[in-house]
Symmetry: C2
């Protein structure tokens, strides 16, 4: 199956490399940022194209790995394409393809990607969805060559997953950043809490997070909660976050 | 140096095992929960004692690894002891020992401990502090046999570290729990986001968290932010958390 990839950002880059690693036939790459497409094509042995009109006739699958709000306009440009089109977004409904493309679906790799950081794609959960049974089968076969962890998830539940990912990834990362700011203010090294951050995430790989909650809020240690709020008194914004999350922990542990 | 340990909870248990692994002379263990002390003593080749009056005369160091609010009352019971006393708490000031014990200090291992989960103590940052230079040296020598990562931190900055640990560990774990609740409501498996949680923590082992922030808030994706809030509409408590943390991410990335 000849594949074309649209996009050159974090997801597109990691996906292109995973396709190559799996020995799949990534033939063409297009990106709004032509230079990036060229670079990515060179890295993965594909050809870069300067316009979507240059898509080969024998391309069977187009993977649209662009920003959420750019998916729809890309789909509009694929009206002449007869094969299958998938996007890789957690937040964009599959309906974006409806009455525009004959066969379509979603291939959503649930991971946080950074250009500089390699990931083992084979362990990344891939959520798939398709317009029809035959398309679903072909998307599943592709996905299973990329990862051991493939699950069918419809658009409504995929949007919940995407939301849960904000709670489980984007928000924790921001809390790490707030902790780093706090340490910097007092000339303490962020290295001091890196092992703690890692262990907190490692713990829930087996356990459920509610079972391993620690800290002053879960043990109703009012004295420590008050002391912490006092330490944050110069920064009302941090006090708000501290209170809201501590109250939420108390509420959950009731 | 003969050591006695007071406590039998998460910290005491992991510390006892680390002392044993390092070949140090853990001689006696006492805990308010006598059975736990007995169990821990058996595991580590120490003797358990049923009262602090049974402390051997040749004990040189007593490590108090009990709940924060129990440290002071333990210290009161050690008035007759002539050696060095340290506690292991992030939140309790070293002043708790003042005018009660001659030589004292703190040995704070900055990690989240669970009874069931083994940890590699040698990578855990240990923050130390002492009443005098000689005591500091002996605490440092002990700590360096337990971990490669020993730092001197005074009580004021230790309380900041402890607060930062709440932001970097307790709060992220609670956000994992909220994500798990959300997934459960929609019959989605928590396994789907476990790799994401791990990768988020792995990323900041090298990078600074502010540099690797992802998600709708940091890219000012108002449409996704609104959609997410709409998905949470049944649970105003989650909307509050979503808004406060998203606003905080926006503020930080300005």
């Amino acid at each position: 199956m000849k594949i074309a990839l649209i996009g050159s950002g974090n997801v597109a880059t990691h996906l292109a490399q995973a396709l190559k690693t799996a020995g799949l036939d990534l033939t063409q790459i297009w990106s709004r940022r032509l230079e990036n497409a060229e670079q990515l094509a060179k890295k993965t042995g594909a050809r870069w194209i300067s316009s979507l009109e240059e898509l080969d006739n024998d391309i069977e699958l187009v993977i649209v790995a662009v920003k959420d709000d750019a998916v729809a306009s890309i789909v509009d440009q694929l009206a002449a394409f007869n094969g299958t089109v998938v996007h890789t977004s957690g937040a964009v409904s599959m309906e974006v393809f409806q009455s525009k493309v004959a066969h379509y679906g979603v291939l959503y790799p649930l991971q946080t990607f950074s250009l500089k950081k390699e990931v083992d794609f084979s362990t990344i959960p891939i959520c798939i969805e398709a317009s029809d049974a035959k398309t679903l089968l072909s998307i599943r076969q592709l996905a299973e060559q990329l990862s051991k962890n493939v699950t069918e998830v419809d658009s409504a539940r995929r949007s919940i997953l995407h939301l849960a990912a904000v709670f489980a990834c984007n928000f924790p990362n921001h809390l790490y950043a707030l902790a780093a700011d706090l340490l910097r203010q007092y000339e303490l090294d962020f290295d001091l809490i890196r092992p703690l951050i890692l262990e907190t995430a490692v713990k829930v790989q087996q356990a459920l997070p509610a079972e391993v909650q620690t800290g002053p809020a879960v043990r109703n240690d009012e004295l420590t909660l008050q002391r912490h709020e006092a330490l944050l008194a110069n920064d009302p914004h941090l006090v708000d976050i501290y209170k809201l999350l501590s109250d939420s922990i108390k509420k959950s542990s009731k």
